[in-house]
Symmetry: C2
Subunit: 254 residues, 2 copies
């Protein structure tokens, strides 16, 4: 390994849930000064309009025919920091939750490259905002768990976290399986479920059902093949009907 002194710094920036203006002000300002931007394919192209001066490099698993391996991304980040002052790694959502930032941080640390992490809005919070329904309700829904089961199997599903509200990221393929596990754990079949696709983008869609219906593949035909889907499960979503008309009115006026 070479120990060339790094010229620059790597900023791991959370791009947020999808919409360009849901990045933080700090993230936006760093984009404006970036020399190179390594971005996930899910990042809204409008966000990249803030860095016309930068060299753009699409990386990650959804950027077309072939995926960049994590090891390859790590290497490129280290290399870029040896030749540029401001290197940005723009990651969907927040880098530190389901973002594999730890692997990039490990590689940067080992190579002696300074780095900084800029947090982002995670999808479940954007989904909650869009639905107009809190993830927590004072007094009865006090905890929220976030998990992913991208490569779920029987053993993984047994590790589902326990909390009043559950947000499952990348849960499309295993939605029915997850619902069955929750029923087996004793959750009621009428527990409200919201499935949100492509949150905060023009393609955003919502499906409201309950845990029993989800276990019976109730979301299967509705789900798209190519959009990220988030499952929100919990009694907190039972207030939907109260606000549904207001939300509908809001959309008509928007």
């Amino acid at each position: 390994m070479t120990h060339q002194h790094p010229l620059g710094k790597v900023y791991l920036i959370g791009a947020g849930p999808g919409a360009a203006d849901l990045i933080t002000v700090r993230g936006q300002r760093l984009l404006e000064t970036a020399d190179v931007v390594f971005h996930d394919a899910l990042v809204d192209p409008a966000m990249l309009n803030w860095c016309p001066q930068a060299t753009l490099v699409a990386v990650g698993k959804r950027c077309g025919k072939h995926s960049s391996s994590q090891a390859f991304i790590n290497k490129r980040l280290v290399h870029a920091a040896r030749h540029h002052a401001v290197v940005v790694r723009l990651k969907g959502g927040d880098p530190m939750m389901f973002g594999r930032a730890d692997e990039e941080i490990g590689a940067l640390a080992e190579a002696g490259v300074p780095f900084e992490v800029v947090p982002g809005v995670t999808s479940a919070l954007a989904a909650s905002a869009s639905l107009g329904q809190s993830l927590t309700l004072r007094g009865h829904s006090r905890s929220v768990a976030f998990c992913t089961l991208a490569q779920a199997d029987e053993a993984d599903a047994a590790k589902l976290p326990q909390a009043d509200t559950l947000a499952v990221y990348m849960g499309r393929r295993h939605a029915a399986h997850i619902a069955r596990q929750l029923l087996d754990q004793g959750k009621p079949a009428d527990l409200p479920v919201c499935v949100i696709e492509a949150v905060s983008t023009p393609r955003e869609r919502h499906l409201h059902l309950n845990l029993g219906a989800l276990a019976q593949h109730g979301a299967q035909d509705w789900l798209s093949d190519d959009a990220p889907a988030l499952l929100l499960i919990g009694a907190a979503f039972g207030q939907r009907h109260q606000y549904a008309q207001v939300l509908a009115d809001r959309r008509l006026r928007a």
Copy 2:
């Protein structure tokens, strides 16, 4: 109740964890157009520089000698929307998690006032960014639970969520009690714990210890009386020493 047609719209905006530039771009832009801003006392005054045109109203429990009751805040939001086009309710962190947004949304919905929620960066993600340590690690720390025990008693503590990583908001007063509960649940005494105060502000401080030490009041003398504290608990924080030197270097260079 009067049914005067509302003139405006209420935006419930997440101010983020503390630093002014960790609000979203959307939130910042709305502040720039606001007629009235109802803000939590914890919000960085620098953030309010973005809305010199707006009438500022400090509300919430930390704004000095007396607190505004939630019912009073709700009433003022509805009233403001009848007289102003753009009413902002700026809330620390994210409005939909531990933010009591549901109570404000309920009041707005009942009064027929249009509203929109703009999500924010929640403190645990900002703390994770600041520590340079992911909340999740691919393969072994797959779930994160966020909870609060502001009015914890024995019964509440029994409702602690179960996940690989646990983030306890507003956990200062009950830190030792929470740690004891987790030990009783079978978590190991050497499980890493990070306590973060005033995350993303100039007063930010970190304390690293383990669950056994926390249960024995190991954080009590360190904690401030007047800063928000977040507890992060989980095996994911065991990698600290690997990156500690890099983080220290980063601070020297900054």
